[in-house]
């Protein structure tokens, strides 16, 4: 039904286009009409086909298929045909040589562009609303202080919902631990490699290194997760055996290391932008006064670019917190509140995935807690990004 009407609409619109054009041309005789001819054709076709398409869309959603006229004929085709005829009659009555069709068409274009951009706000609104509603339902079952500050995370325990605890502190500490480990890798490696690429590398090397880092940034996180499983975790366990340490197979160290590699390109490219945006006279002045290049970078350039680098680190932090696939594959579900990187921890995103892909009813406190966790994550990343943007803007004002 739908595909048939779509095909019919396309054929009809072509026919109406030519019909509108010829009609107005005939009406205007030897003079020119007020708009270009093709706009009349488009106007006629659009005003006829648009109500049909809108009707198709809304009857689908509102389920008019089930309203039957008599026994077997559904009411839907009639609605579509009637709306199409109404549109046609209105457009036809307007087709005169004095009619400025392009004005109306342009108005419609502007309205549709505005609608498209309003959808951006709608999406943020929807994200917020959907999570707030479900999280509110959760907070009716579990008080918010228990959730934010409780230290036991056991969504389902054997004694049923009486024994389940929803204290999210182990999740927050796990997320923080992973984030810290990954920043320990990403910040030194990222900043120093950006320093190398900007100040020490030749042009050819820089042209080679930049695409390499872009490739590293473009690898999907699931590949990193797979890499962590097949190479990093076994190697870490093997090294742990040699050194006599007990490194869990799902250790925070493994996940943190790989996540550090994953966010390294972000830190590196943002720092690169910051360093190239700095005025060159800073570096030249410092070198002219006799500082070595290392001293210049360490004591002049990096402090000057510090706000931008801090913003880069904040953005990398928000990426690390929100990362899902890598930690789901490399970590387990043991909600251990520890700072020991050799043990296994769990993060907020892992719990969201495991709570919503398990066999739990949608209304159980387990599934609803996933929305509460999602809301926390959303607010946290939003705050981090706003702070980072403010830092970048303050820094730009300073150096422009």
């Amino acid at each position: 039904m739908t595909s048939l009407s779509l095909v019919l609409c396309s054929v009809l619109s072509v026919l109406l286009y030519h019909m509108g054009k010829r009609y107005v041309k005939r009406l205007s005789g030897n003079e020119h009409p007020r708009s270009l001819l093709h706009t009349y054709g488009i106007y006629l076709a659009l005003l006829t086909v648009m109500p049909v398409l809108l009707g198709l869309f809304f009857t689908n959603i509102l389920g008019f298929d089930t309203v039957l006229l008599g026994e077997k004929i559904s009411i839907r085709p009639f609605i579509l045909i009637i709306s199409g005829i109404l549109g046609f009659m209105y457009a036809w009555s307007e087709l005169k040589p004095e009619f400025r069709a392009h004005k109306k068409l342009e108005r419609m274009v502007k309205i549709s562009l505005f609608t498209a951009s309003a959808i951006a706000i709608l999406v943020t609104f929807l994200i917020f609303i959907s999570m707030v509603i479900e999280a509110a339902r959760f907070f009716q079952m579990v008080p918010i202080t228990d959730f934010l500050f409780g230290t036991q995370w056991r969504p389902e325990s054997s004694t049923g919902s009486l024994g389940s605890h929803f204290g999210a502190m182990p999740l927050f500490s796990g997320t923080a631990l992973i984030m810290l480990i990954s920043l320990c890798i990403a910040v030194p490696f990222g900043v120093l490699s950006a320093v190398y690429m900007v100040f020490y590398a030749s042009k050819n090397m820089r042209n080679f290194l930049r695409p390499m880092l872009e490739i590293l940034a473009g690898i999907p996180s699931i590949v990193y997760g797979f890499f962590a499983i097949i190479l990093i975790s076994p190697s870490l366990r093997y090294m742990g055996e040699i050194l006599g340490l007990d490194i869990a197979s799902e250790s925070a160290l493994g996940a943190g290391l790989v996540m550090g590699v994953m966010i390294l390109p972000f830190v590196s490219s943002l720092t690169d932008d910051v360093l190239t945006a700095l005025p060159d006279n800073l570096r030249q002045g410092s070198l002219a006064l006799g500082a070595t290049s290392a001293e210049t970078v360490w004591r002049v350039i990096l402090p000057a670019g510090a706000p931008g680098i801090v913003a880069a680190i904040l953005l990398a932090m928000s990426r690390a917190i929100g990362e899902t696939m890598l930690v789901v594959m490399a970590l387990g579900l043991s909600a251990d509140m520890t700072l020991n990187p050799l043990k296994s921890v769990t993060t907020v995103t892992v719990q969201i995935v495991s709570l919503l892909t398990g066999d739990q009813a949608f209304d159980s406190p387990g599934s609803l807690s996933a929305f509460a966790l999602g809301l926390t994550l959303f607010i946290l990343t939003l705050l981090l990004n706003m702070v980072a943007l403010k830092v970048v803007r303050w820094y730009k004002e300073k150096y422009d």
């Binding site: 342009e106 509603i133 490696f189 390499m212 797979f226 499983i229 929100g322 995935v353």
Partner: protein
């Protein structure tokens, strides 16, 4: 007169320059470390996937009394019996000691279904091709050393002409299955393509429309500022939040079919729309103002200058940005997990309303299985995913290079 430097000062200067050289080396080491991890990832995945690219199969002829066997023992045990007899035949013909084959499977588990399909389709006279077991696969890999005992088995089978070693096209053509030897990525690829199609269909008009509105038509009021803030915030939201959005709104409120490309495509479209907006705005901003001024001066309306002059000039940049955003959506799995694409889907989806899976989610569900064969096919699927991403990125770069207009 310039005082000559004292010895301490000269030593100090040399020391400072030495530290500078060390610093440069340290920076170089960090760069090399990043490169090493990149090649380590690619190389490690490639190394693990090597066994998948070829497959071994047996060429056998059906025993003539298969119909009686099936009638006597029923379907399932009948097929088992036929396989056992084929194994006996091969052992006899190979003139090897039967004890070698006691713990050795010749045929894979999936060969049961292959046999069944051959018989049902009536291919009873021509030689049948049945996939070899993982034991045989393992022996084949160990038999490169001509002197080892394993290679004798393989050599005798090869001289008998019953062993075929070929490119593993079943990996690309089969859907997912319970057997790692017969599992393929075709279903996941089709699901991915359908999902990306829906994503593109929705995100491209929305994203480009928003960018055009913000750049060309919007006044500087509170509403515009609000839209811009929203776009830049949405661009940094983690992908799993969009999965939660899709679950709560598309699945629960709108009632879309779970795990269908339409729901996944809509979720991904919302996720990449801010990226497309930002890239398109950059492209539109790079069109010089003189174009717009000249068109307006010659009497064109705002809509006409935008769509006839500005947008075509910005199109290469817009397309590059869109292709890069699509490439990102292609590799996303977290939001799609949320809308239920986790289930085991063996059939290839036929419409955008059928249950489907996408390649990253397929990789995820295979990767949870620690068996070595599953790791191999996961690595191969990862390589396919990376290959498609590389292709998309190359297309984007080519478009950018080809249409680069120096203004």
């Amino acid at each position: 007169m310039i005082k000559p430097l004292s010895i301490e000062n000269r030593r100090l200067i040399r020391y400072r320059h030495f530290k500078s050289k060390i610093f440069k080396v340290v920076c170089l080491i960090t760069v090399l470390g990043a490169l090493l991890s990149l090649f380590g990832i690619l190389g490690g995945v490639f190394y693990k996937s090597i066994p998948v690219w070829t497959k071994t199969e047996f060429k056998v002829t059906l025993p003539t009394d298969y119909k009686e066997v099936l009638k006597k023992k029923g379907e399932l045990s009948g097929y088992h019996d036929i396989l056992k007899r084929l194994k006996q035949e091969l052992i006899q013909k190979s003139h090897l000691h039967p004890r070698i084959f006691e713990d050795l499977d010749l045929f894979s588990q999936g060969s049961l279904w292959q046999l069944r399909r051959y018989i049902k389709e009536g291919h009873i006279s021509s030689p049948l091709i049945l996939s070899a077991s993982s034991d045989i696969n393992r022996l084949y890999r160990l038999s490169t050393d001509r002197k080892s005992p394993e290679s004798k088995v393989i050599q005798s089978f090869e001289t008998m002409g019953v062993l075929i070693h070929s490119f593993n096209n079943s990996f690309f053509l089969n859907g997912d299955s319970l057997e790692p030897e017969t599992a393929g990525i075709w279903g996941a690829l089709v699901g991915s393509l359908m999902t990306i199609f829906v994503t593109l269909l929705i995100s491209f008009p929305l994203g480009v429309g928003t960018a055009v509105y913000l750049e060309e038509f919007a006044w500087k009021n509170v509403f515009t500022r609000l839209i811009e803030i929203n776009i830049s915030n949405l661009a940094a939201v983690p992908s799993i939040i969009f999965g939660l959005l899709g679950l709560a709104i598309f699945l629960n409120m709108f009632g879309m079919p779970r795990s269908a490309p339409i729901a996944g495509g809509l979720t991904l479209a919302l996720m990449i729309m801010p990226t497309i907006v930002i890239a398109s705005r950059t492209a539109l901003q790079s069109v010089p103002r003189s174009i717009r001024d000249a068109a307006r001066a010659l009497g064109a309306s705002r809509v006409q200058t935008t769509f006839h002059h500005v947008v075509p000039l910005a199109m290469p940049g817009i397309m590059t940005g869109t292709i890069l955003a699509i490439a990102r959506a292609f590799g996303e799995s977290a939001p799609l997990l949320m809308i239920g694409m986790m289930a085991f889907i063996a059939d290839v989806p036929e419409s955008i309303l059928d249950s489907a899976t996408v390649l990253p989610v397929q990789i995820f569900s295979w990767a949870r299985n620690p068996e070595p064969q599953y790791i191999e096919i996961t690595a191969a699927a990862v390589l396919v995913l990376l290959g498609m991403l590389a292709t998309l990125n190359l297309i984007a770069v080519c478009i950018r290079k080809k249409f680069e207009v120096k203004v």
